[in-house]
Amino acid sequence: MATAVPAEHSLPPARKRSPRRGRGWLRRAALYAFLLAGCLVTLLPFVWMILGSFKTSQEIISIPPSFWPETPTLQNYRTILTDPKLPLLRFYFNSLFVSISVVTLVLFTSSLAGFIFAKYEFFGKNLIFGLILVTLMIPFQVLMIPSYLILVRLGLIDSLWGLVVPGATSAFGIFMMKQFIQGLPSELLDAARIDGAGEWGIYWRIILPQVGPALATLGILTFMGTWNSYLWPLIVITSPEKRTLPIVLTWFNSMHGTRYDLTMTASVLVVVPILIVYTIFQRWIVQGFTLSGLK
């Protein structure tokens, strides 16, 4: 099993020109056609969503339906952005608050635990780590009912902290950080100890700076997962002003069933920010999924 992960930006050795140039050309064209067709299928729903957000309510229900908006309008955006019952800024804050809190906690706990599992020996270490891996297999549905009951008793129902607290540790994160830290040379630590550094000092000053890329990746992955999370906030949050974005979208849809123009607009407002984040950070996101795959 490959343990060293090829950074996805390392260039493969320069391609040798195939001696049979003509045949290679045809094959390449077929590949591109195949990939482009796939792109079309992938992008079409997004296009449909965006087009729908610019259609009027009459157009949305017209039969037969049109693809392009005949009278494109910004009215839907205006309606949603100026609706006093939809404080979008507040909802963005909610989602942001929960996501950033979870990310900070997960990065801290995962790196610390990953460090300990990677570079220390102690009694029962393999057993405990195995237990952590087992928890990865517990489906959310088993945890969700008792977690809800626990939150009730902790008084965290209907609180944004209720969304943060259960997710403060991540078995996946610990696993990933352990893998990464294992690759760091132990001589670094020994050298630091000889210089008189304490264990915490080693963690803060030696390990953390070295695992920047892995932290960035784990951070982005966790951020996206928390931002898009639906079922848990659905259960925990009851006050309208504490909703996170996916829940806002669901409620909105319940209210405006057939008004696809409005629901598509709301979808755009919820989906597009993450797409922008993805575009900026795609390198790390992809790296993260890759790292998790090749263990």
């Binding site: 050795p13 792109c39 729908g52 300990i116 297999m137 945890l143 898009n228 079922l231 974005l245």
Partner: protein
């Protein structure tokens, strides 16, 4: 090196040396709270869920303190599990859920692989600059929130106003009722379930695609070139060299894909709510409805344990089947 060996300190001596005491303290003080915290949020709930399964529990009723068990939430022993084989409505829905979950996951896995592996191979085979672009596009659905995906596809599938029927009619076909027609089916599987599968594949393909691309990148070129020198054409190359070398990744992907498929909730709840006629009612939806709508948390707990067992079994079986010691 010959000569007298310095006597090695035994384990206890090592543990209690000053140096190691510092380390042990660190490990203990850092790890213990973390592990306790994790235990509290994962293993404790599992134990609680197991207990719940033996009660008839509703959150709206007040049971006996401290955990609400007993009182208005009576102990029912194995009744919840026994009823799974019985004729009650919820038992029928449970079995339907079980069946639908298995069908869904069993169909999703091969279809997903059939899409992502060829795509990965294709992307790997082209020029590196364009590669990033294609990968970017194919991964877009995966970062989209499930609610957004469900709403967009719900609209796409709309029988009168949706894009899919529009395209079908444009080429002369007749539109279908994708999500609410219980009569329609293909190969014995309801159309509504196929529609959900379609949406799910679109949403999820990016994940496996990325993993396969990275895996392909790490296969040393020598293998491929050796095969080509031996006269293998593209097809043989694919089947006899690439796929076997992907086996370790394949194991990981298969297990993960099936587990994710077992737990698909968001898009199903929003697009069909389990309908029509429970044809898309999967176990996770069943659990959710019973726990948070119909006040049957004990029953829901029991069903969730069955789901857990299923996941463990599937993971175990797949690990056995696909285990390999290939290294390169």
């Amino acid at each position: 090196m010959t000569g007298v060996r310095k006597p090695r300190p035994n384990r206890w001596q090592r543990a209690f040396s000053t140096q190691n005491r510092g380390r042990s303290l660190f490990v203990a003080s850092a790890l213990t709270p973390l592990m306790l915290y994790m235990l509290f949020w994962t293993l404790l709930p599992v134990a609680w869920a197991i207990s719940l399964a033996f009660f008839d529990y509703s959150p709206a009723r007040i049971g006996a303190p401290p955990l609400g068990f007993g009182g208005d939430n009576p102990f029912v022993g194995l009744a919840n599990f026994q009823n799974m084989f019985g004729d009650l409505k919820e038992a029928q829905q449970f079995r339907t859920g079980l069946k639908n979950t298995l069908i869904f996951a069993t169909l999703v896995l091969p279809l997903n692989l059939a899409i992502t592996i060829p795509l990965a191979v294709a992307i790997e085979a082209i020029h590196v600059r364009v590669k990033t672009l294609f990968r970017f596009v194919y991964f877009l659905p995966t970062v989209t929130a499930s609610v957004g995906v469900a709403l967009i596809w719900g609209y796409l599938y709309h029988p009168q106003q949706g894009l899919i029927n529009m395209v079908i009619r444009a080429v002369g076909g007749s539109g279908r009722i994708w999500l609410t027609d219980p009569r329609a089916g293909f190969l014995g599987v309801p159309l509504a379930l196929w529609s959900i599968i379609g949406t799910y594949l679109w949403w999820d393909m990016g994940y496996n695609l990325i993993i396969f691309i990275a895996a392909l990148q790490s296969i040393p070129r020598e293998f491929r070139e050796a095969a080509q020198v031996d006269g293998a054409n593209t097809w043989q190359l694919f089947w006899n060299v690439t796929i076997p070398l992907l086996r370790p990744t394949l194991l990981f992907v298969c297990v993960l894909t099936m587990i994710s498929a077992f737990q698909t909730f968001d898009i199903i709840q929003i697009m069909t709510a389990g309908g029509p006629q429970d044809q898309t009612r999967v176990m996770v939806l069943d659990i959710y409805l019973n726990a948070f709508r119909y006040q049957r948390m004990g029953w829901a707990g029991a069903v969730s344990l069955v789901l857990f067992a299923m996941i463990l079994i599937v993971t175990f079986v797949q690990s056995r089947l696909l285990r390999t010691k290939w290294e390169y």
